[in-house]
Amino acid sequence: MTCEKYRLLLRRHLDANAKHRPLFAALTHHEAECAVCAGYRVEMQRLLQDLHTLDEHVEVPESFSLSWRQAVRTQARFWHRKPAKSWSVYASVAAILVLLFGGTALFRTGWFGNSAGIDPIQTFFARNLIGQGGVLDPEPGIGSILINMPSGSTVDPPERSDSGLLILRTGDFVINTVNFENDLDFILSETAQMGGLIEKENIVGKTIEAGRRAELTLRIPDRAFDGFTHTIGRIGTLVSSEISAEDYADRYTDYAARLAQYELKRDRIEALLQQAETIEEIIKVESSLAEAQYQIESIRGTLQNWEDRSQFGQVRIYLSEANTFPVGEKLDFLPEVQTQFERSWKAIADYFRDMLLFLVIAAPWIVLVAALTGLALFLEHLHWRRSGEY
């Protein structure tokens, strides 16, 4: 046996509480031949014995016994139980569920900028109306298309009615519908058919559960206004409607008179300008001319606006989708069960499809947050390891 092997075996022997006879015999045999190893064994045995007895005489000071008890009692006065670890797990799960279902709900309302509000119908009409002279306004709102009607560019020259009235008509409709897409389609097609324009169209929501609604501002030719409002009133469930008309004839006459005066004034100033000789005179006269010209343009714009509005009445429609199933003919029990089951199944499938889409949209953020959280946990773990708290 080599000395190295002896020391290895000696460690085992010292650790074993009961003496292992063959091992003990082998060690004794080597010790008889090697005095260094024999001395080593004595030293190690004495070391262990010394270590074992080193603290035998150490007594706990009474002050320690008293002080830690006092400290614990003080702590007990301000005791508040720490939340159990399992609560943090529950909280994490709850946070994930809130994120998942809340995110999906927001996604279904088009909150993430998904294409919920933009419908092919809108694009179609927007394109057509642009063709009629409308201008597509890229408003930043989601699912919103605004058509600015050119001021008088597509309307006939102003003409007053035979009665001498200048009527500006406005209609407001609040409608609930169970057939959102068809009714919206119908309103827009009626508008186009009657030669009307869409001033503003804003559609929010994607599904029935998300509560789709459309806000439309339409300009309907005066001759078709009554027929249009009558037709609209028959769509879905009419919650409220208000049709108003205001006569601008007096104001129109007044403004027209003022316009004539300003035009007369402009003519006189132009005549004066011909007679002006000095620079100062020219400047003064031109200043007066510019002011008169400004007033003329302003009054003309106002008059033109009234004339346009008198030819195209404004109709505002708030179309909301009612979250109810359409009433159909009464089915037998089993087919109805089947229908309802299929409907529910489709709703579930749609929901999870939207959830998946939400996860895809949110994935970069989720990955980023997960990476930051992982990094924070790793650094904490590293700190924990380095601090030696094993």
Binding site: M44, W68, A84
Partner: protein, 219 residues
């Protein structure tokens, strides 16, 4: 009010802030925890502070105790962590001298022994105490828990959160280093540096580089 008969029941009471149950629970370990702290600090005042901090930490951490390890193992783990923190903070401070250790009265000579033998025993024990302070923290922990506190290898491994083989290895090396350093102290006096690089230098005949020393110290 908690009864005092069942350890698990006492633990549950203490987890709800019952100070009396906690005292009943920890009182049997009081001496050993104090001795453990004393072995790390080598100063009674510091041992007192460490042990008291350990008691408070145990009390406050008790709601997190999940009955997965033995209660004694768990409290030893907390106490060793506090002691290791203490050692880290004390690194810059001067180490305890041999004379101070002897004067502190850690070893009481056996009156039955002849004076020469008693003096030799006292010197040896003082050298041993100083030698323990010179062990790297992890080795010191393993040695104290096994050879002084009398815990099993499994308990040592559990407290240190290492596997059984690592625990055994640390204990074995710690004994070897301690034997060497104690002999060196007895031969050359107390001005002996860290045992591991002293041994390395003795073996290789060269100076150990600072980086290598740090590596050895972390064993």
């Amino acid at each position: 009010v908690c009864g005092l008969q069942d350890t698990d029941w006492l633990i549950r009471c203490a987890q709800n802030g019952d100070a009396a149950a906690f005292e009943t629970l920890v009182a049997p370990h009081e001496t050993r925890l104090y001795q453990l702290c004393l072995r790390y600090t080598n100063q009674r005042e510091d041992a007192h502070d460490c042990a008291q901090e350990a008691m408070i930490r145990i009390y406050r951490s008790l709601p997190e105790y999940r009955f997965q390890a033995a209660f004694s193992t768990w409290i030893y783990r907390i106490t060793t962590n506090i002691c290791l923190d203490y050692l880290r903070k004390r690194r810059a401070r001067p180490q305890t001298s041999l004379d101070a250790l002897s004067d502190a009265g850690y070893y009481i000579p056996d009156p039955k022994k002849p004076p020469e033998e008693a003096l030799a025993d006292q010197d040896r024990m003082a050298a041993l105490q100083l030698g323990i302070t010179k062990l790297p923290p992890k080795m010191r922990t393993a040695l104290i828990l096994r050879d002084m506190q009398g815990l099993s290898y499994e308990e040592v491994a559990s407290i240190m959160r290492v596997n059984l083989g690592t625990a055994k290895s640390r204990i074995s090396r710690a004994r070897e280093y301690l034997r060497n350093i104690t002999n060196s102290i007895l031969e050359h006096g107390q001005n002996v540096d860290d045992p591991k690089h002293t041994i390395q230098e003795q073996k290789s005949g060269r100076n150990v580089q600072p980086r290598e020393r740090r590596k050895l110290y972390d064993m």
